[in-house]
Structures are given as C-alpha cells and as structure tokens.
C-alpha cells in the first residue's frame, strides 16, 4: 500500500481499465457478430469514456488524446449519426488494440506505443467521425469552457433540508390530486415532472405513480401518456394555487382534485419514505417515471389512449402495479456479488499456511494414533472433526485462487486478428466456457500454449480464403477455443475447420529429420502425434508465424510441467482439434502412498488404473532380461521403482510385491512394482526443483503425517523410460 492516496487510486484505475478494455472488446466483438444493439454501442462508448475520464484525472495525455478521438466517434455512432457498419467495427477493433497499448504504456508495463500506428488510427477514426470533411478541431483542442454557457449555480438553501414544519391544521383534510397526462400534453412539450415539482413547492407533497398503464416494451408508444400520478398535499394549501399549476395543461390531461376526510400524519424529512410503504415498488415506479420522461419526445403524438379509470382506482392498487414497471424501466438488475480486491501475496501466504496446516494436522493425527489415548478419550473424534475442518479450509482457500479462464481467453481475439492479417486469412474466433474456473497459476500458464496453438491453428490449420472457397467452404475460417471441466480437470479445446493435418507431409518431414525410419508403418493417429516430437517443427519451412522458434514439443512440455496432457484429432478436409487437459490446481494431489525398499513414495491416483499382486506365471522376460507382466490382454513392462530410481532393490515380484498398473498420457502403460500400498491420501505438493533439483522419474515431493519427506512419482517419465528400453528404435508417441 502506498502512502499517497492518489497513487493507490491510480492502481485502482489500471485494474479498472483492464475490465473496461475487456468490456470494450467484448462489446465490439458482439457488434461484429451482429449480436449487438444500441445498448452495446452505449456500453462501448461508456468504456472508452471511462478510460478517458480516469486518464484525464491522472494527466495521461497521450491516452486521453487517443481515447477522446475514439470516444467522439462512438458518440456519433450511438447517436445514430454515423452508421455502425462492418468496416467501422473493424477499425474500432484495431483502435481498441491501440487503446490497450496506450493504457499499457501509461502504466509503464508495455512497450512504448507505436506512434505511427496510433496516428494512423486517429486519422481513420477522425475520417469516420467527420466523413470526408476535415476534422473540425484537433483532438488536443481544449474542450469548451463551461463559462460560455452562462451557467449560474443554483443556490441551495440549507433550510430546505430541515424537517418540514408540522402541517397547519386546516378545516379540511389533505388534498388528493390524481393527474394523468394525455399524449397532447407531451406533444406540447410540457413536462409532467415539472408540474409535480411545482406542486411540491406548495407544500409537503407525496407522490405516488401508477405505472400499471404502461404496456410491454415492444408495444410501448413512448409518445403516449401511460403514467398517472396521485399527489397528496396538506389541506392548508389553497385550491386555487393547485389549479394554477395545471393552468397550461388544462384539457391535455385527466385531472381530479379531491379533498380527503382523514388527515395524513405529519411528514419528517429524514424519515422513511412516506409515500412508499413498499419501497421496492416505489423505486421501480420512480425509475419507470424517470425513464419514461427521458423518452418523452416533443413531437406530435398518436391519439391519446383510453383514459384509465384512475380516479376510481384505489391507491393500494395503484401502488402495486403487477409487472408493468419492470418492463417500462430497466428491470432491476440482479445484485452483483460484492467483491474486495486483495493482494495476491496475502492469498498465497494463506495458501501456504493452509498447506502447512494440512501437513501438521496429519502429523498430529499420526502421533496421537501411536499413543494409547485415542480410545480412552474423545481425542479421536476431535481429530476427525479437525481433519474435516482442515479439508474444508483448504478447499475454500483454493477457491479464492480459482479464476475464470476469461482473463486468458479475452487476450486471444487480438492475437487472432493480428495473425489473420499477417497470413492473409479470414478468421472468426469463437470462444466457449470463459467462466470455467481454475487455479490462478494454471490460468497464467495457459496463455502461452493457447497462444501458440491458436497461431498454429490459423497458420497451419486454416486455408487461404480462395482455397477454402474452392473446397466449398466459406471464405472465413473458424477457430474455436473452449474450456470445460471434465472429471476434476480443466479441458481446453482448440479446433479449426481447416484442411486437417497433411499426414503425407508430416510423415515426410519426420523421415527427413530422422525421427522415424522410412519404412515404418504408422497409424493416422501416430502420424498426427509426430508433430509433438522434439525436433519436429514445420514452422521454418512454412512460415514464421506459428513457430517463433518454438515447436509443438515445447508446447507439450510446458503442458506436461503443469501436470497436463495434450492430444490431437484431425480429419482431412474438416480440420483439427487439440485437446489439453490440466489439473485444476497445482497445490494438492490425490495420491496413493506406497513403500518400496524402505522408502515411502506417492503415485498420482489419476494415473493408476489398477493394482494387483503379480503371479509368477504372468511374468515373462523379453529378450531374456526385460520383465513384462500380463495385464488383461496385453503385456506391460514391469518396473522396479526402487531400482529405477536407484535407491535399492524392490521385492521379488512373484512373492511379496504389489504392482500398480499406471497409464501415462497417450495410453502407454507400465506396472510399477513396489513393496506395499499404505493407502490413499491427499498430499500437498512441494516443488523439488525449488527446494532441491529436478530428478528424472520424480515429479515433486510432499511431507507425510510422520513428518518424513516422500517423493511423488513422475508416471509419464517412468513409463516412457521403460518403453525406451523395451522397444527399439524408440518412437515415443503421445496422444
């Protein structure tokens, strides 16, 4: 936290800018897809306007200048003075990219703005704003000074807010005025609101609106008078004064001035709203009134509607119009969830502490169970409750870090536009499941592989427009980016409707690069997966857009380092789909705790297919020395974990050991031979690389209940090592 409040507000501004810019882009994309309406244009205007407003407060001049030009065009569009056509929207999208750059530059977070690009867009925006005519004033021109309007502040009398004097007792009861304007009243540019204000000057007035005459929005004629009001005034008010207020609208409204017998209770200023026994209804009506009045035009109108029998209508009925106000006004928006902004450091600290708490709880439980007190006292039950509570705390804390993938997805439209422009292709990006939540660290690390795969999909997947047309497809290709939850993991799918993988070409390159033997017989799926092999990168030969020096093998590795898997399916002529699946969090893992040569190890539960006790007749030696075990109808390599990791020798398989059948990504299986299974447990992952160094075959470490460190096995590494020693030449496949 900084000391200067304005610095803190500035930080708020940049956070808010991110949201505004996202809204801006979302709005423009909706317009591009033809899903937008006037309110969308308005929302886009507001976003730009708000960015400009904040930037002005902090003296960010370059940003203000650009936003001003942008805003001016948006103002023309929302007023309907300029058409919001496709070409305009395309320009606006590029302008939003530059606005992003300006914000980043003002924040000091991005590269300096490309001045030429910015100036070019300013010129484009101004051309759209002013048509062919030269811009009337430069964007930098100072805005009109308020004084030139000759505005005089309206003095406020503090006495106005003093509690109203007790109403003078008068001979008669209070006045009840029922007033329903006809269309003619509005057509003559009279304003019901002004009349009400005049009335309220005569004395303490309460106003009730009857909006029940307002029809559904689609049949609403804003020129017609659909509203009526019931105004109550103290009995002391002169009737002539009341009639005088309506002097100029006589005949253009239905008016009844009645005197009540009963006396209304005195009215206090600060008291709860007198006219609103049901405040919600009252505000809805007020809102309806405010909206309806804003819409009231000055043009001659259609004939007045049938006057509603308002005079006869009891007040209670008038106060509770069923659904009408909701259609007339903006329906009350569902309350947005209340949020606070918290430094990530604090959340991370909390998560670390909860991780320690989980470990400590396990340690405590184990210690207690080793003593005799567990049966004799209520300690056992207490510990169980504590464990449940700890789990719940852990889940809740993890939920704090969960974020929708939207923050990554919303960066992609810009990328798609840029790549499309570079490659001369027409692309429409469709995103789904933006609200899917996943741990923040996972979200952050998703950006790179998604970026890369989208580039790939456009560059390699989609065909040029002419080729697409020739193949009977639309000139515009579609790339779909979707996120969903599936069995405790997040799945990201990137698919295109392009030509699909050119298998002949892929195989040719793989042979050329020595990745496979020329005469190897491979299935289509195996060929598709060749693109993930290290050393296979078609980027340099096809274009430099996708590659940037990085091949799919790097993408695959970065996904694997997140505990994820990637696979591809492709159909010639129809396109390809890349599917990544990732764990929802990197902090905890469901594991099977096993022991091997006096060490305790953890195998990720997700990878375990089955565990079994191997029988001698199921074990065979391949080539005289490599053991395999029969599992259902296949033989899988038998791996002695202790020997493979080099800390000992495992059990004799046929006698004492347990084999865990594990499946690596791509479906390759192995049987991990260990001494015994201790049980299932959720463990807190501690990075080995951070605390020690990376070890082949070990993914991470954890601390168990007895305080000992246990290594978490890297199943994929173990399986692929085995297969390398079993099958030669090695073809490491992934699917």
């Amino acid at each position: 936290m900084t000391e200067d409040p304005f610095e803190a507000i500035k930080a708020t501004f940049f956070q808010e800018c991110e949201e505004l810019l996202a809204d801006l882009e979302a709005g423009l994309l909706a317009l591009e897809n033809g899903e937008g309406d006037d309110e969308t244009i308005n929302a886009v205007f507001r976003a730009v306007h708000s960015v400009k407003g904040g930037a002005g407060a902090f003296g960010m001049e370059a940003l203000v200048r650009f936003a001003h030009v942008f805003e001016t065009l948006m103002d023309e569009l929302r007023a309907g003075r300029k058409p919001c056509d496709d070409a305009t929207i395309k320009t606006l999208l590029r302008a939003s990219d530059v606005l992003n750059d300006h914000v980043a530059a003002a924040r000091g977070a991005g590269a300096p703005v490309d001045e030429a690009r910015s100036a070019g867009l300013v010129a484009e925006l101004e051309a759209l704003t002013h048509g062919d005519a030269a811009p009337a004033a430069s964007a930098a021109a100072p805005e009109a000074d308020e004084d030139e309007f000759g505005f005089k502040p309206v003095q406020f009398d503090p006495m106005d807010l003093a509690p109203a004097a007790a109403p003078a007792t008068s001979g008669g009861g209070d006045w009840r005025i029922v007033f329903q304007p006809n269309a003619a009243l509005y057509a003559k540019a009279n304003d019901a609101g002004l009349l009400l204000r005049e009335l309220s000057r005569l004395g303490e007035a309460t106003v009730e609106i009857d909006a029940s005459g307002v029809p559904m929005l689609d049949v609403l004629e804003p020129e017609e008078g659909c509203l009526s009001w019931t105004i109550r005034l103290p009995g002391a008010v002169d009737e002539a004064a009341i009639r005088e207020v309506f002097e100029f609208v006589d005949g253009d409204c239905d008016l009844a001035i009645l005197r009540d017998e009963a006396e209304a209770p005195p009215v206090e200023f600060v008291a709860a709203p007198v006219a609103a026994p049901a405040p919600d209804l009252d505000i809805t009506a007020l809102l309806a009134a405010a909206q309806a009045q804003v819409q009231a035009p000055a043009e001659p109108a259609a004939p007045a509607p049938e006057p509603a029998p308002v005079i006869a209508a009891p007040a209670a009925e008038a106060k509770a119009p069923p659904a009408a106000p909701e259609t007339a006004a903006n329906a009350p928006v569902a309350q947005a969830p209340v949020t606070i902004r918290v430094d990530l450091d604090r959340v991370d600290r909390l998560i670390n502490l909860v991780g320690e708490l989980v470990i400590q709880q396990a340690v405590l439980a184990q210690r207690v169970s080793e003593t005799a007190m567990i049966r004799a006292t209520g300690v056992g039950q207490g510990l169980e409750d504590l464990e449940l509570l700890t789990r719940e705390i852990q889940d809740s804390v993890m939920a704090i870090r969960a974020q929708p993938v939207k923050s990554v997805f919303q960066r992609m439209p810009r990328l798609v536009r840029e790549v499309a422009q570079m490659t001369g292709k027409q692309v429409r990006l469709v995103t789904e499941g933006e609200a899917t939540e996943v741990d923040k660290t996972v979200v952050e690390r998703l950006a790179e592989p998604i970026t890369h795969m989208l580039r790939n999909a456009i560059d390699h997947g989609l065909e040029k427009p002419d080729k697409r047309v020739a193949a009977g497809k639309s000139a515009e290709g579609q790339v779909r980016l979707a996120a969903l939850h599936r069995s405790g993991r997040i799945v990201i799918e990137i698919s295109d409707d392009g030509a699909g993988i050119n298998r002949e070409r892929v195989l040719g390159i793989a042979v050329e690069k020595g990745l496979v033997e020329p005469d190897t017989q491979l299935s289509d799926e195996q060929i598709d997966n060749l693109i993930f092999m290290p050393g296979f990168s078609t980027a340099e030969t096809i274009s430099d857009v996708s590659g940037r020096g990085v091949g799919m093998d790097v993408v695959k590795r970065s996904i694997q380092s997140l505990g994820g898997r990637i696979s591809i399916t492709s159909k010639p002529g129809e396109g390809s789909t890349f599917t990544m699946s990732l764990p929802l969090t990197l902090a905890v893992l469901d594991g099977m705790v096993v022991s091997s040569a006096e060490q305790t190890l953890v195998a990720p539960l997700a990878a375990i297919v089955e565990s079994l006790t191997p029988r001698a007749e199921d074990i065979h030696l391949v080539g005289g020395h490599t053991p395999v075990i029969r599992f259902r109808d296949e033989f899988v390599p038998l791996v002695d974990v202790a020997a493979t990791l080099g800390f000992g020798i495992g059990p004799e398989p046929a006698s004492t050991g347990v084999a865990l059948i594990v499946e690596a990504e791509g479906g390759a299986k192995a049987a991990l031979l260990v001494d015994a299974i201790q049980g299932q447990r959720q463990v807190v992952i501690k990075s080995l690389e951070t605390n020690y160094q990376a070890i082949d075959g070990v993914a991470a470490a954890t601390i168990l209940g007895d305080g000992r460190v246990a290594l978490i096995l890297d199943i994929d590494a173990l399986v692929s090592n085995t297969r390398r020693s079993v099958r030669k030449p090695d073809l490491k496949l992934a699917s």
């Binding site: 609101g193 106003v207 007198v274 006219a275 405040p279 009252d282």
Partner: protein, 129 residues
C-alpha cells in the same frame, strides 16, 4: 455558511476510480460525510432510504444515467430539495441545458481538481467552513 463536515454527500459513479477520486478530493476539502453508489438506480435507492444534502453524480452510467437520477430525485418529494452537482466528461452544452431544465444545481467538467470541486460546492452552498 455550512460546515463542510456537516454536508451529507452521495457520490454516484459507475467507476471505482472516479468514486475514489471524488472521495479523496472531498475529504481534502473537509467534506467527510460520504456515501457511494454505483449507478443511478443504486443512488436512487440510497436517496430514498436516507436523503443526502448533496449528490455528486456522473452523467454517463448504466441502468439509470445522471439525468434520469436527477429527474427521479426531483420528482420524489423527500429528496427533491437535495443539491445536485453533475459531473460530465465533456462540456456538452445541450447536456448542461437539459440538466438545468431538470433542476441541476451546478456541474463540473472532468478532469477536475479538489479546488474546482470546492468552488462548485461553494457555488451551491455558499462558502464552506
């Protein structure tokens, strides 16, 4: 000559940044009795629940904009006498005229300084103490 600290004020803006800026500026000039609302509708609810002496409202907001809020406040007797200062992003003559028509007390063009804000408030309330 009202005491600045006695003026109950409602800040209305859909942007957290602007609300924070207005709040900080008001606090600088001693106006400390503050509430905030996100948009016109929320402001109207706040005003009905507890009227304020002064409403400082943005013009351009979702749900109910500043003009709509002004009209609603003026149309509702318990709140009709509150002072209303409109904040606008641009000095739009037509907008100001409409606001005057609906009974705005003063208006202020963004960006503004705490000094300018004080001037505008004093234009309505007289010199602040």
């Amino acid at each position: 000559m009202p005491a600045a600290s006695a003026i109950q004020t409602l800040i209305v803006d859909d942007q957290l940044t602007m609300r924070s800026l207005i709040r900080a500026s008001l606090q600088q000039i001693g106006v400390v009795n503050l509430r905030e609302a996100n948009d016109g509708e929320e402001a109207l609810r706040a005003m009905i629940a507890q009227p304020a002496h002064l409403v400082i409202s943005d013009f351009n907001m979702p749900n109910l904009d500043g003009l709509g809020l002004l009209r609603a406040i003026r149309a509702h007797p318990p709140t009709s006498k509150s002072a209303f200062i409109m904040l606008t992003g641009r000095a739009d003559k037509e907008l100001v005229q409409r606001a005057v028509q609906f009974g705005v007390n003063n208006y202020l063009v963004k960006p503004f300084t705490a000094g300018q804000l004080k001037e505008k408030i004093e234009g309505v309330f007289g010199p602040l103490t």
